[in-house]
Symmetry: C2
DNA sequence: CCGTCCCTCCCCCCGGGGGTGGAGGACAAC
DNA sequence: GTTGTCCTCCACCCCCGGGGGGAGGGACGG
């Protein structure tokens, strides 16, 4: 069973270069090429490739937007999208992954890695350049900037930290009191201690601090 | 310049196997071994390895907790942690990455990939097994996606969105009024509209929603 | 045993924030 | 012109949330 490929890049030289590399593999078949995003969508619809190799920087429609269309309202089942680019800028990486890309390789990758990436994607997994993986891991771990974890945060008592988390979930003092099975007066004094220790004005700033320092993380369930 | 390695696994067979593989590389030096997490922490403190190969399942202290100690309150600079495990269960993967691991390989990986991973980690980047990469990408794309991006948020007028952002920065109505050069009354009515449209109770919940839906992003400057 | 820390709770005060119900002007669309 | 939306602002009321200041009991360590 062959893997059907669509190559999308605005530079013809790159396209043919890729085609030559990829056609060395018996089970690869380059079914088409496209020079920009719009054309890529049309080709994908008509040729039903398994994997689409996509450049980020293209006229008319860039790679991120193209990815979004391919994975959202494109052919069903959607093709696997492998981003190929010279730049690993954050906005590209995160944008592309958010849009549904399954792979992200820099153009300085070896041909072996490119071929491996296509096989990996076709198998349903994902493969990224090491530097991209690093960014993603860092973003996930949220440890890119842990500015105040030990300094101020561990000045809080366990109970105070607990209150802070609930405040950061958007709960009112009454609700927090209910959740912790104490009176509202207690919650207020705990929260008062938190604000004083962290040098904050009100609970709103406490919420901001909680998110900025990873006390709570966007996307995690309560 | 050699790369100093510490091998941590509760099974001696695995440890010596790894050692044999790794010592084929001229620039690798296995400086020590440990059979569990506690021992690993002590060895790391004394031997200062560049990269620690860590099994997840170990007696006394598991790999995730060990990772957290190594990267947080361990030696400075902290070693790069490469998780080696037979299982790619979600709780392991996410826990380890959150704790500060830079790599995550399944034990069925080829020796070439293992060696490559160590080099990549030592260079400051990250490397994961394809299946793990897939989970991470999905978690990343899926987490920040589904909440309420267009549905409710684009019901807001530009001005209302602007107010929401400032609220999410922790500003009071008076401060927002100053920033936008309007009266506080105006800010209040805008904010009132935001709360009504989004079905929120108070500005605190607005902050939470802003973070959860990417209206503002932790770590971004104001 | 006594000091310290933490958790718990109370009272009083009051200011900011949110809810209600408007009103007027600018501007685009119909 | 008329309608609608958006931005701007006003007055009023009320209550939650935060500050001040204090107090009692349990746990822990010196």
């Amino acid at each position: 069973m062959t893997i059907r490929l669509l190559i999308v890049d605005d530079q013809e030289l790159i396209r043919t270069g890729l085609r030559l590399i990829l056609e060395t593999q018996e089970d690869f078949e380059v079914v088409g090429e496209a020079a920009d995003g719009r054309e890529a969508l049309a080709r994908a619809e008509e040729l039903r490739p398994d994997v689409v190799l996509l450049d980020i920087r293209m006229p008319r429609m860039d790679g991120v937007e193209t990815t979004a269309h391919l994975t959202a309202d494109g052919p069903t089942p959607p093709p696997r999208v492998l981003i190929l680019t010279t730049f690993d800028l954050d906005e590209y990486v995160f944008g592309a992954l958010r849009a549904g890309a399954a792979g992200f390789l820099l153009k300085d990758a070896s041909r072996e890695r490119l071929i491996e990436a296509i096989r990996v994607l076709h198998a349903g997994d994902a493969l990224l350049s090491p530097s991209v993986t690093r960014r993603l891991v860092e973003a996930f771990a949220g440890r890119i900037r842990p500015p105040t974890p030990p300094g101020l945060l561990n000045a809080l008592t366990p109970r105070e930290r607990e209150v802070l988390v609930l405040v950061a979930r958007g709960l009112s003092n009454t609700e927090i009191a209910g959740r912790l099975v104490v009176t509202e007066a207690t919650v207020k004094s705990h929260l008062g201690a938190v604000l004083a220790k962290l040098g904050l004005r009100d609970r709103v700033q406490a919420v901001v601090l909680a998110y900025e320092n990873g006390v709570v993380v966007a996307g995690e369930p309560a």
